[in-house]
Symmetry: C2
Subunit: 340 residues, 2 copies
């Protein structure tokens, strides 16, 4: 059925029996590797890396080659979707994303398009290259941002402590909000289908700013759009990671996805009760990797014992921080791999 030699990740996602939890790290392709930092320094910026398939493929391979993780994730950015819809962004060094123009009115929406599967061709091309390069070694993870999170950036114009401009929009203009969320959702489905066609073996949807919404807003402005995405992607397993949405767990259990991402605040034992039929992914605090190697090993073992070996994908509770010592990352990965 699958030509992947190490298919632990896919079996864990589908709820099949595994010898041990598979392990990978969010943001595993990136600054933790000296070869990444060297390459990045030679380029004009972050977006050159995202938009050059050969380079995106190269950096996606670092954690597979160097750490022996159980999955590759394509190097890309969730903000490629707003750009494909017609809203360009720039990545400002040490500051983060910035949208010179934002969307505020229905007229602004008239100027956007629902992007098709060809729109982010550099990422789907990178997936094809990476698939070839992996040669069936481990599964390849594709990803996109969740509609609310993408909406937040497009309306706010960049990162924010409160995302109050984006959240204000939900209160002030429901029609605008739902129309934009629909456009993002349809663009995202087209994009994710293209990723699967290009070779992605599993899809993860990142709702990074889920924790900003009230429970009622999450029910109205996030869950239905996530639901639409989950129902559209049938060919491969789907993981939804709604950071901070502890108040929406029961709604999330209703999503047609196989795996739920879990941040480091959440209690795995309680989550097992709420998600009896889903796989859980997470949830070591990324800051734990700043501790000594022996403490990292202890904490990883503790995490594994709390989740149990089945229906768990070992990961951090958030992306690995760029200045994390590689030895600690290795200790985390090795501890999981030695747990069989």
């Amino acid at each position: 059925m699958t030509n992947i030699k190490n298919d632990l990740l896919l079996r864990a996602a589908r709820g099949e029996k595994v010898e041990r939890a598979p392990v990978w790290l969010m943001r595993q392709a990136g600054r933790i590797f000296p070869q990444y930092r060297k390459l990045r320094a030679s380029l004009s910026g972050f977006k050159e890396l995202v938009e050059t398939p050969e380079l995106a493929c190269e950096v996606s391979m670092h954690p597979v080659d160097e750490l022996g993780v159980d999955a590759a994730i394509i190097f890309s950015d969730i903000l490629v979707i707003p750009e494909a819809m017609g809203l360009a962004y720039e990545m400002v060094e040490k500051k983060g994303p910035n949208f010179p123009k934002t969307v505020q009115t229905s007229k602004d929406l008239d100027n956007l398009i629902v992007s098709d599967g060809e729109a982010v061709h550099y990422t789907t091309d990178a997936i094809k290259l990476l698939k070839k390069e992996l040669n069936g070694k481990v599964p390849l993870i594709g990803f996109a941002g969740a509609p609310w999170t993408i909406f937040a950036y497009m309306v706010e114009g960049g990162g924010s402590k409160t995302f109050s401009k984006a959240r204000r929009k939900l209160y002030q203009d429901r029609e605008f909000s739902m129309r934009l969320l629909d456009m993002i959702t349809d663009s995202t489905i087209n994009y994710l289908k293209a990723q699967v066609a290009a070779g992605a073996d599993l899809i993860q949807v990142f709702d990074s700013w889920a924790g900003m919404l009230t429970p009622v807003q999450y029910k109205h402005y996030a869950i239905p759009y996530l639901d639409k995405i989950c129902n559209a992607i049938n060919e491969v397993p789907v993981t939804v990671f709604s950071k901070g949405a502890y108040f929406a767990l029961e709604d999330m259990n209703g999503l047609n996805c196989q795996t739920i991402g879990v941040d480091w605040n959440m209690n795995p034992k309680e989550l097992r009760k709420i998600f009896p039929d889903k796989t859980l992914q997470g949830n070591l605090d990324p800051c734990q990797l700043y501790a000594s190697v022996s403490e990292v090993k202890e904490a990883t073992k503790e995490m594994l014992s709390v989740f149990g070996t089945q229906r768990h994908i070992a990961n951090l509770g958030h992306g690995v921080y760029p200045d994390t010592p590689l030895d600690s990352v290795r200790a985390f990965v090795d501890t999981v791999k030695e747990s069989a």
Copy 2:
């Protein structure tokens, strides 16, 4: 026992019977008022306002005079404590606080002091002036940051999306962390006792970055220090607002405080079960005030009905945003006041 004419806030905090919930807003003294913005524009910066008792008193009166809220809160800043301990900060316009020097080593701690009750004399002086100006109209709220939140700023050096430098410290150097937390706690107790002596009728402790910690870390590095503060302040009721600490609610129920602050993600019905003997303060989404006046009224009524009239202090789930229309703030306050 009290010379305060409108003592709704104090009765609600103590769990005594009230005709209706008292109402005030976090950050009510500030940019929502044109007279504040005018005054601020005439000054060298934010800190001049904090450090000039007459001006701090003046802006603290705006919401009492203009909105008729049931409490005044002294205009100040949680970062006066690091400064009193020997770590100066600057407030950078449109960016937030910045510490030119941070604390990283035990040697850095040797250069700090535990500040005494006289250290932040401008704020205690402002409280004395405000107490006089209020003339018993409504209670006066004093405040401080919680030890973990102050620690986070002192180690990180400013705001952060992850506070990864501060959290790293908890993993890397427990001795340093506990020593600094002890110093902050003792300084804070001295400061809060001085605020009470100057006339504060209720104390609120803000743990703004509570949601960054793991449940285990909150138990070790936040709760014991909050506990020490709550036990030290006996003369007046104490409110603890640990933003985002949904995972630590049971620990918080053990604190010797009267009121628990609640953010807009939290479910009041569940909170009533967890905190059967405490008053709850909150929790309208500050972004709700961007909606139309009639929607603000509806949402406020809905909030009041979920909390019920007793053991509730009506407030937002976070500080009011600076660009909130004053009419909406007024609609929020009036709706609570008309609910009797």
